[in-house]
Structure formats: C-alpha cells, structure tokens
C-alpha cells in the first residue's frame, strides 16, 4: 500500500488550468486554506470551482483564478457577506451557477454514484431555473406525476478538503461536529487531496475516537498533506475556532495588499 503523503505544493502541481475543482468545508469552516494558498502560489487558473463558499472562493475570485463558480452561497459566517467575492461578482468577473444547497448536495451524490442526475424537490418556481437555463426537469414515472429538478452530477476533476487527522494511506478523520460534504467531494472527484492537522498511524485513528469519525476512505484519496493550522483562519473544531481577528483583517484589507502580506513564500 502506498504512502500518499506529499506537500501542498506537490498536490497543487498535479492540478491543471481549466479543471473543475471541488473545495470542501462550509462558509468559513474547515476550509483547506493551506491547499488554497498553494493554489494561489501556482499558475493554475481558469478554474470551475464547486464550493459551499467561504474565503476559498473569495481569495480565488480576487486573484482571478475562477472562470466559473458553482455554489449555493458565499459567506464568512461571522461576517455574513464575503467582500472579495462580492466585489468580483459586482464587476462580473466570472460565470456563476447559483444553485440551492440541496441541489448542490444531490449533484455531488449523483457524481459519487455515477449517475447523470438525481431528482430533487428544489428549484422549481424559483429563479434558480431562470439563471441556469441548462437545468432540466424530470417527471415522476409513478402515479404522483410530480415534476422535479434533474440535478446534474457535479463531477469533479479534483477535490480539496481539510480534516483533523489522516493516516499516510488517505484514511481521514473529522473530530468536529459536522462532516460538511467532504467525503462526498472526495467520492465525486477523479482525484482528491486531503490536508489534515496531523498525520498519524492508522491504529491511532480509532484509539480515542469513534469509528464513525472515519469520514474519508483511502480509495477516494490521491494525496495526503500534513498541514498543521491548515484551515486557518477558518475554524477546524475541535483543534481551533475561527481566528476572527485574522478574518477581519482579510475582509477589510484590499486584496493586493493582503496577498502581498500573507501569500508569499513556499510554505503556508
């Protein structure tokens, strides 16, 4: 069995411009920021980003790396509106596929199950249908005859997620209260790069934690990146909460200045 550990820059070196990239976490929670920083240091661009958006989306948008975004929202949680994302949207910087949270999850599930779509009772009647003219509907073949959105699979070229711990093989564990959609991102992707607070021996994973915390299984993982504090300034419960001061600095600093201050060098 192969050792999949690598650096953040090595993981990003396997990505290419034009890819569809899924980014795990939720808003300003457990975002793979070390990997996002590595992405920003690279010349990878023209991305389709699939994300329950937080500062990952804000930074990549500000840096001009996004061609198209697929998202139900972008927020910093304690700062409801993401300023860099807002600015990018208001100048029409990229294409947007704005969909509902349930549609988003069903899209990942469809991809994980190798289905072209899944029916979902969401979107009908809303302007999600107007702004996404490519969305199709499907009628139940049974007696109820109800019409649903046929949510297309959100197939990803690669996924980036951050968890609390992983072994060298790619078995990864979350110790916080919410898995978000991280395992779905990995299952929906052709390649998945998991950063973690700590790489531990396999046996160590279940010594003090329940089996159910083993969220991501190694067959869905391509690379494991040990990145202590790798979600900073987003939260990574129970290891650390959101760094509100750092987030506030991010939200109130013009992007070029912030990038100059924080995104230099080769290690995050």
């Amino acid at each position: 069995m192969s050792d999949k550990t690598m650096s953040a820059d090595e993981a990003v070196a396997r990505l290419a411009s034009g890819m569809t990239l899924g980014i795990g976490g939720w808003g300003s929670r457990r975002k793979p920021m070390a990997l996002v920083h590595a992405l920003l240091r690279s010349d990878v661009t023209d991305l389709t980003v699939v994300s329950c958006g937080g500062p990952d989306v804000g930074m990549l948008a500000a840096a001009g790396r996004i061609r198209k975004l697929v998202a139900p929202f972008v927020t910093l949680d304690s700062i409801p509106l993401e300023p860099h994302y807002r600015a990018a949207r208001e100048r029409g910087a990229f294409e947007l596929m704005e969909i509902d949270e349930a549609m988003f999850m069903w899209g990942l599930r469809a991809a994980a199950n190798r289905l072209p779509f899944l029916p979902v009772r969401a979107g009908i009647g809303s302007d999600v249908m107007r702004v996404n003219p490519g969305l199709r509907t499907v009628t139940s073949p049974y007696d109820d005859g109800e019409t649903f959105v046929a949510m297309p699979a959100l197939r990803l070229d690669a996924a980036l997620v951050h968890l609390n711990r992983a072994d060298r093989l790619g078995n990864a564990q979350y110790l916080g209260p919410d898995p978000y959609f991280d395992d779905l991102f990995c299952e929906a992707a052709g390649a998945a790069y998991v950063s973690c607070e700590q790489v531990v021996d396999t046996a160590e994973l279940t010594k003090g934690a329940a089996l159910q915390s083993l969220l991501v299984r190694r067959h869905t993982v391509t690379g494991v990146v040990e990145a202590p504090n790798g979600a900073h300034f987003t939260s990574c419960a129970p290891d650390y909460g959101r760094d509100e001061a750092a987030q506030k600095e991010y939200a109130s600093t013009p992007w070029p200045e912030f990038a100059e201050r924080h995104l230099k060098g080769t290690t995050p």
Binding site: A71, F73, T75, R89, E101, R121, D127, P177, P179
Partner: protein, 238 residues
Amino acid sequence: MTVTRSEYCVIACADAWRGGGEILASPMGLIPSVGARLARRTFSPDLLLTDGEAMLVRDDGTVEGWLPYRQHLALVTGGRRHVMMGASQIDRYGNQNISCIGDWARPTRQLLGVRGAPVNTLNNPTSYWVPRHSRRVFVEKVDMVCGVGYDRAAGARYHRIPRVVSDLGVFDFATPDHAMRLASLHPGVTVDQVRQATGFDPVIPDEVPYTREPTDQELELIREVLDPHNTRSREVGS
C-alpha cells in the same frame, strides 16, 4: 412594565411555532431565536432546537441529537421543520430574495446567495423575519426569487408560508389569491405607517387587531432567562 417593540416581535415570532408539534424550529436572526426558545419553554414543548451548529439541544443545553448539514437537508425534505428565514426583499406573494440586488448577471449588490430558500419553500413551512420594514425590503417584485412565493409555487404539495413578521406587524397570506395581508399591528404602530413602509398595497382588513400581549411568565422568561442582555433591542429598537 411597558412591553417593548422588540418584545412584541419576539411574541409574534414565537407564535409562528405554536401547534407545530415535534418538529425542528429553525430561527434565523436574533429575535426569531429568542422566539423559538420561548415557544419551546412554554406552549410548544415538543419543538426541536439546535445549538446553531450540528447539535440538537434541550433547554438546559443537554445534547439530545446530532443534526449536521446533510441530515438537516434530509429533515427539510422530510418536512418536519418550520424555518423562519430573513429576506432582503419580499413581495406581495411571499417571493423572497437573499441572493443579490439588481440584475443577477451583474448585480449592483451581491448578497449571500440562494442558500436553502428554494428547497425550504417547497418542503417545509417557511416564515420570514424582517427587522426593518421598508420599501426597500417589501417590494413590488423581487430581483431574484430564492424562496418561492404563492404565485410561483403552482400549488406545490408542501408549499406553505405561514407568516411574515416585521418590526411593524405580522402578515399572512390568508386571502383568496394568497396576497400578503396585514394580520396584526404591533402596539404603537398604525396602518398608515405600514402602508408608507410597504412598496406594494398589502391587503388591509377593516379591523386590524394588535399583536397579542406577552403573559407575565413569557415576559419574565424573555427578560430574565432567554435574553438577559437585551440583545433583542439591538435588532429592533423601541
């Protein structure tokens, strides 16, 4: 003791969950949160409440269940939930917008995004909370329909918008064509004030009642237990 406007708002929000039974109360915003906890402690003891993250918690904070985002979405589609969402814009039929202001393709103000509004409105009762009732919020036509209103739901099986609560009053859709109706005024507010602050003509019955008074027990719970630091007055002044 004089009941403040923010306390009438708490009462109006709490009453949204009356008779809900064993369902999840999902309040968004400060005053709806106090309202949901008030309902849970008084007339709707079976309600489920979250800690704002992934835990279902009892009044004393005891964890009684796990509800991460993905299970929350399953609960939404199962229908056993009554959410009270915010609205940056809302129209006479209850179409709600939290996505953006202006042309969606290139908005003048990008907001949060549609979030779960489309799925909520087709699956579980969805009420709205507006802390500052104005013509900018209560508009003739919203710029981006996120939450689906009555005119666009086409009789969807589980679509229901029980009420809209603002700092001026309570509104429902109990009219023949489901147009928004003034159901009660918070004491101290006039019908004219509502008309002037609303960008469309809401249905106004001949006799408009006032939002009910809190009981002594409810007032004590709000002031002493649920919101002792009076955060409610920061969301709605007097």
